[in-house]
């Protein structure tokens, strides 16, 4: 009836009808990438270029000096930068791994088990999707104080582990797995734990990858725990250290800008690498897993 042929979604090759999308996407992508490209150049600029007038976008004589300065620098209280980086890496690893495990386990129970509170728990969790931690910063502080977590390593980790969005996502994914599959496994004598590890986990990899990305960004970029709950300089994280560099960039601080740009780059690179690794998994598994 209609001759209209609309969108060719997910085209396999280039066709000139796609030019209109590219004409819109490419300039926008370039524009969005500018500040990030700028960090790259800025991080490698020697001091005279950092403060050249007029300021230049590109780096002329790239140098690693900013990174050397950053790594050899200690903060006002004598804590070396590497300590902050170490703290961040350890905290991030622990939080990402535990969040994935905790959310997937809870998602399995909420999706495939039958018990009274099931619906209520999921509904409360769905409400908590809208939870904005900053909104309850004060009672959280009082609670963490009450629990004796102030000035401990755990305070970076524990508050971030329950991630409503993670549970939500993984539960939605597990819902797609047919009950028959689990029933068959059970008849073959598989225990609950085996079903979880052998069937659920491999089938929900896309959701797991997504939780990992979300959780990584949350913890790696977080400065709340260091600024609010930790006074001991040696226990603070790299993201927090970086935010203190920002406050010293007031236009007069020549060294500060280079350091801050180098630190931004160090903050950014793991984000990028992790995303590149996980995005291919998210997209690929989604396309081939047959989970709709």
């Amino acid at each position: 009836m209609s001759a209209f042929q609309g969108t060719k979604m997910n085209p396999s090759k280039f066709h000139k009808s796609q030019l209109k999308f590219l004409a819109f996407l490419i300039p926008l992508a370039i524009f969005m990438a500018l500040p990030i490209v700028y960090i790259f150049f800025h991080a490698f600029k020697p001091i005279d270029e950092l403060f050249a007038y007029p300021p230049r976008f590109f780096v002329d004589k790239p140098t690693f000096q900013n990174f050397v300065d950053l790594f050899t620098k200690t903060n006002d209280t004598g804590v070396p930068m590497s300590r902050f980086l170490f703290n961040s890496v350890v905290v991030t690893l622990i939080v990402v791994v535990l969040t994935v495990i905790i959310s997937t386990m809870a998602g399995y129970a909420l999706s495939k088990k039958n018990f009274k509170m099931k619906k209520a728990i999921f509904e409360i969790n769905t409400l908590a999707l809208m939870f904005v931690p900053a909104a309850v910063a004060i009672p959280r502080y009082l609670l963490i104080d009450e629990l004796g977590l102030i000035n401990t390593f755990l305070v970076h980790i524990l508050p971030l582990l329950a991630m409503p969005i993670g549970l939500f996502l993984v539960k939605q994914f597990i819902d797609q797995i047919p009950d028959e599959l689990l029933e068959a496994a059970r008849l073959d004598g598989a225990s609950d734990f085996q079903i979880f590890v052998r069937i659920i986990v491999p089938l929900v990899k896309p959701a797991i990858a997504t939780i990992a990305i979300l959780s990584f960004q949350l913890v790696w970029n977080s400065i709340e725990s260091s600024s609010l709950y930790v006074n001991d300089e040696g226990l603070k994280t790299f993201s927090f250290y970086m935010s203190t560099l920002t406050s010293t960039v007031d236009g007069n601080n020549v060294a500060g800008q280079g350091l801050a740009a180098a630190a931004s780059l160090i903050m950014f690179i793991p984000n990028l690498v992790i995303f590149i690794i996980l995005q291919s998994q998210v997209m690929n598994t989604m396309a081939h897993s047959g989970i709709k």
């Binding site: 300021p55 904005v132 582990l161 329950a162 931004s264 990028l272």
Partner: protein
Amino acid sequence: MKTKTTKRDHSHWMFLAPYIVLFTTFIIIPVGAAILLSFTYFNAIETPTFIGLSNYVGLITQDEVFMQKVLPNTLTFALIVGPGGYVLSFILAWALAQVPKRMRTILALVIYSPSMTAGVAMAVVWTIIFSGDETGYLNSLLLTMGVLLEPIQWLQSPEYLMKIMIFVTLWGSMGVGFLAMLSGVLNINTEIYEAGYIDGINNRFQEIIYITIPSMKPQMLFGAVMAVVGTFQAGAIGVALSGANPTPQYAGQLMVNHLEDYGFIRYEMGYAAAISVVLLIVVYAFSKVAWRLFGEKD
């Protein structure tokens, strides 16, 4: 492990326990405590004393900064950044789905990457770009082009701070919601489109409204919730950019900043808790709209 069979009746609690304990401790209790504290006067040293609704009454009737600056700022910021970032995410995801895979992956990566760095950590870059003297990138560019005659103190200017905050947040808002929508568009069965064309869909706009969006409601909703939460989480950006709380003339003061101002600077914890409760209600109201639009009806 092989022979041990867990008791089925209660096994769900084993899987749920870690999540529930953490969830209750760090989400439920703080929210409950915020509600309770909001009815008290509490200065963090003496025991809280019950004062009824005084905090709320004060917030609405006496806090001029709140009613004249903070609330309008928050609404302006949220209404532009939330729906704006959301619609932009969808359009980008939709357009990206229509280019070949390799190009799509690269473009998606570029568009997504600002959201990885978004937040306070990125403020360092923006403070350099928007730096107030003539060595600031924007000032330098505009001076060279002859648009400006003298440099502008972008981040200290009440006139520009909010606009810059909105711009910076929008720039970083193509996050996980955007990715979810991209995979949502890509996973729509092509037969649905074919059927749609036979049923008389004859332009792209109809196609989006009647096929694309209804077919990817779960991702649309996920994206919307992410947009709402992301918007309110971005609240600290004004303070990070201007380097001061309160922001210059309260121009970039959002509810999150107002709350921290009272809670951590003035130690009026009860009052800050009342602001928390109002903020939670605002977030809830925004999310409710999203659930209405895209929630599964069944």
